[in-house]
């Protein structure tokens, strides 16, 4: 195994493309090192992206924010402006692991690790975030939901990696929230999770919404039916029930050590309901 820490994006892409064996991009390393330790992967090359220009910066852009791929979740959580615009995303990223893990882990790593249970991912999907992908060719922008391809697999091509994630601007009277279910209060991987982002009109009626679920399918689920269930409502009880039902219907989970199919399906709906209430209040609605 080799360890490289390139200084430019082009060098990074070149290294990743040239290597014939197994490569790993190193962000915060909180997945990579665990996988190394467990012998799950034996890379021939590790490319540490943390020295690339701008990769650790948060920059305001077009009313939104561009989050460098190596920005740690701790750094993200300390940024009051991002938190004010996208509190659900910042909270989701803030749930990942312990204080120690927060000091290293990144949203880009969470996305590219492609675990169905990654906490940042549903919130990013609900937010309509866009990943900027660099590689041997020209950089391209990809909606985050198009990155994961299945457990542990992404749609990124050989030599490609994410340099930043863009959180867009949003209309007034918008709010987002993310909730996950874990058996303890910390240090667990989500058994089921839900993110809701919505916008209200002056009457408190939901005019736009995106609902995403985690840990209930091989990849994050963007549930249009769930959004439809609450658009045009003031999130009254029946709208919440319809939202929960649509979410449960969209689940295709597995039974494993962390939870049963039955449990995940049920709880995904419960979480969506609760997250929607928080998002609604954040948007200024009176739930």
């Amino acid at each position: 195994m080799r360890y490289e820490k390139p200084q430019t994006v082009a060098d990074a892409a070149r290294l990743l493309t040239a290597e014939k064996g197994i490569t790993r991009v190193l962000g915060g390393g909180t997945d990579v090192l665990v996988q190394l330790k467990a012998g799950m992967v034996e890379p021939d090359l590790i490319v540490d992206i943390k020295a690339l220009p701008g990769i650790r910066a948060i920059v305001a852009e077009a009313g939104g924010f561009r989050i460098g791929a190596a920005v740690s979740n701790a750094q993200l959580g300390e940024d009051a402006a991002v938190r004010a615009l996208w509190p659900g995303v910042v909270e989701a990223a803030g749930l990942i692991g312990s204080t120690q893990v927060q000091g290293r882990a990144t949203m880009a790593g969470n996305l590219c690790n492609a675990s169905p249970a990654g906490d940042a991912v549903p919130a990013l999907v609900a937010a309509g975030a866009v990943a900027r992908v660099a590689g041997p060719g020209v950089a391209r922008d990809v909606p985050v939901e198009a990155i994961p391809a299945g457990p542990g697999k992404t749609t990124l091509k050989r030599g490609e990696f994410i340099t930043s994630i863009f959180l867009p601007a949003r209309p007034a009277k918008s709010g987002d929230a993310y909730l996950r279910f874990i058996p303890r209060t910390e240090m667990d991987i989500a058994v089921a999770s839900a993110a809701v982002s919505l916008t209200l009109n002056d009457q408190g009626v939901i005019t736009a919404a995106r609902v995403a679920l985690g840990a209930v399918a091989p990849t994050v689920r963007l549930v249009d039916d769930a959004a439809t269930a609450i658009i045009g409502t003031k999130l009254h009880d029946d709208a919440q029930a319809a939202l929960a039902a649509a979410c449960s219907a969209a689940c295709a989970p597995i039974d494993d050590k962390r939870g049963t199919i039955e449990f995940r399906t049920e709880v995904a709906g419960v979480l969506a309901k609760r997250a929607a209430r928080i998002a609604y209040t954040r948007a200024g609605g009176q739930a």
């Binding site: 195994m1 080799r2 360890y3 820490k5 190193l26 915060g28 390393g29 909180t30 090192l33 665990v34 190394l36 330790k37 467990a38 590790i46 540490d48 943390k50 740690s72 701790a74 692991g97 312990s98 204080t99 120690q100 893990v101 000091g103 290293r104 209060t185 910390e186 240090m187």
Partner: protein, 158 residues
């Protein structure tokens, strides 16, 4: 696997060491630098016994490659006590019996110090959530929370 040579700073002192590319910072601290204060309870980020500061950020040294320490500043439990004596947290842990076996203690002290530097007056709940990644199997955490609060109070009044 060819070795990498790394120049870093540990507890304020310059240190050079050689490591393999897949070696963790924890292994390098313990096996290359003889600093065995950080412990390996899991090697996978779950227990916090290996906690150190890396450029001022609290991290699990088992989740950092040793090679990443190049040019970095690392602080470990060995650097907590000064010539003037123990750090208030270290004293509070002894005075409040906040350790039983003590194997979690180095990691918890490093983590608690990082907390109090950021938040000198945390609530019990803030202490508990900050330390959630530091497992202690002996104490049930009660006396740990009390010791951190006692040290915080002392440091505020100092």
């Amino acid at each position: 696997m060819s070795s990498i040579s790394v120049s870093t700073t540990v507890n304020g002192d310059p240190v050079d060491f050689v490591c393999t590319p897949d070696e963790s910072l924890l292994d390098a601290l313990r096996n290359r630098m003889g600093l065995t204060g950080a412990k390996e309870g899991c090697g996978t980020g779950d227990c916090g016994a290996c906690s150190v500061l890396l450029n001022g950020r609290l991290v699990c040294s088992c989740l950092v490659l040793a090679a990443e320490a190049e040019g970095a500043e690392i602080a470990t439990v060995e650097g907590m006590a000064g010539p003037e004596g123990l750090h208030p947290l270290q004293r509070a842990f002894i005075d409040h019996a906040a350790l039983q076996c003590g194997v979690c203690t180095p990691g918890i002290l490093v983590a608690a110090k990082a907390l109090l530097e950021k938040n000198p007056d945390p609530s019990d709940e803030e202490v508990r959530y900050w330390l959630a990644g530091n497992l202690c199997r002996c104490t049930g955490y009660d006396k740990i929370v009390r010791a951190v609060q006692a040290a915080a109070a002392e440091m505020r009044s100092a």
